[in-house]
């Protein structure tokens, strides 16, 4: 049975992270839209699959996984063979390479994600709920994010990608949040330093991401 991806259809957010992995790994999937506006993710039926009531989640022949980063890792693990595109995660027996990958993965969720989320919530989500963006607070959040990206610039002067020298899931984890900033005229992903700019351009020019931006998330079968 074809894998089912439940989530939102945009090239934005956690569902987009999983969609990019599916495309990179040439994994066929059926996309099932979950309309957050109608509270479809909070129904009892949905919560049986996902007790936290969030999207995305996948159903792989009856096997259910939620949390976008966990889904991504599962897909990379299950389809580690050469017929399925880039590995996206070092083999566990290459202990030090794997550790550098895990370091980068942790940096994304502990340092990058909380900072970028504050910017996104202030700039984009508040107006969606009829509130006004506090420009002073927003400037503060952008400054915080810039500080994180300055450290990224230092890291990326020594390794090509955020998980090591190969493109990996760690880089993909950033596409749920990073690309949206430019839509609001916030260019920190390319203006903070030359190494971050080089890295970010590499990530968003991947054919998988270009396709998602152009078409949104759709079933591949």
């Amino acid at each position: 049975m074809v894998l089912k991806l439940y989530g939102t259809p945009y090239a934005f957010g956690a569902t987009a992270v999983v969609a990019m992995v599916l495309l990179e790994k040439h994994i066929p999937f059926e996309f099932v839209l979950v309309d957050l506006k109608t509270g479809a993710h909070k129904t009892r039926e949905f919560r049986e699959r996902h007790p936290f009531g969030n999207v995305p989640c996948i159903e792989d022949d009856g096997f259910i996984v939620y949390e976008s980063r966990a889904i991504a890792r599962y897909l990379a693990d299950k389809y580690a063979d050469q017929d399925h595109g880039p590995r996206l995660i070092p083999v566990p027996t290459k202990v030090q390479e794997r550790a550098v990958f895990e370091q980068g993965a942790s940096v994304e969720n502990v340092n990058f994600f909380p900072s970028v989320l504050k910017v996104i919530q202030e700039k984009f989500e508040k107006p969606l709920h009829g509130e006004t963006t506090d420009e002073v607070a927003l400037a503060g959040y952008i400054a915080e994010l810039s500080k994180v990206l300055s450290v990224y610039d230092d890291i990326l002067s020594k390794q090509r990608f955020m998980g090591g020298d190969e493109f990996s899931l760690v880089d993909i984890f950033h596409v749920g949040t990073g690309p949206g900033l430019a839509l609001g005229g916030i260019d920190v992903m390319i203006s903070t330093g030359p190494n971050v700019a080089r890295w970010w351009n590499d990530v968003i020019s991947r054919p998988s991401w270009v396709k998602l931006q152009a078409e949104g998330i759709k079933s591949s079968v």
Partner: protein
């Protein structure tokens, strides 16, 4: 050469790493950093940990930071030593469920627990005024997440299945600090979370490090 753990003796993240070192029976030398003197922002520290955060390890010249990455590294490097804290490499479904539980910890539990502790404990240490209203909001949000934990832990013993994993252990430092912050939520949510939390807080590896990390030369 013995592994060096560089951190602060009672820092949550330093103790998170120390717990795993003890679980895996890995000898280590503890090198304390005095954060009140800004030693974590010194050039010699930042050259190893560019975010200026504790802890990091120096394993015979291999430098690694981020406590959860260090914990995973120790399990990868010593798969047959000490407690088995991650599923086997060829157990693809088991590993997926482990990663799901691990993601719950760093995406759903930690941001709220950390900010609650920051509001009532760390702010005071920096001479700032805690805001009880912010704290209450965070605890309410955390309680909603723990409702899902209560369901999960009613079906299985631990967060990834019936065996303890890093995903459970990684909760301990902030879960236990919440009591100091002024909430007993970890023992009030429901019988399943209470059972799980009690067991974790009494885990010998945590008890060995909770009052301050020290070098361990043998086990």
């Amino acid at each position: 050469m013995v592994l060096k753990l560089v951190g602060a003796p009672v820092s949550t993240c330093t103790r998170r790493v120390a717990t795993v070192l003890v679980e895996k029976k890995v000898p280590f030398e503890f090198i304390p950093i005095d954060m009140s003197k800004g030693e974590h922002k010194a050039a010699s520290f930042v050259s190893n940990q560019p975010f200026g955060q504790v802890p990091y390890i120096d394993d015979d010249g291999f430098i690694l930071y981020e406590s959860r990455a260090i914990g995973r590294y120790l399990c990868d490097k010593y798969p047959d030593q000490g407690a088995k804290l991650v599923p086997a490499l060829n157990d693809v479904k088991g590993r997926a469920l482990f990663e799901q539980a691990a993601s719950n910890e760093y995406q759903n539990f930690d941001p709220l627990a950390y900010r609650a502790c920051f509001e009532m404990i760390f702010k005071k240490r920096r001479g700032l005024t805690p805001d009880p209203a912010v704290f209450e909001q965070l605890i309410t949000a955390l309680a909603a997440k723990l409702e899902a934990y209560e369901i999960i832990l009613g079906k299985q013993k631990y967060l990834a299945g019936d065996e303890i994993t890093l995903a459970d252990l990684f909760h301990i430092p902030y879960a236990t600090t919440l009591a100091l912050a002024g909430t007993d939520i970890m023992s009030k949510q429901g019988p399943n979370v209470t059972r799980w939390y009690k067991e974790l807080s009494e885990r010998p590896s945590w008890v060995a490090v909770k009052d301050g990390v020290q070098s361990m030369s043998s086990y």
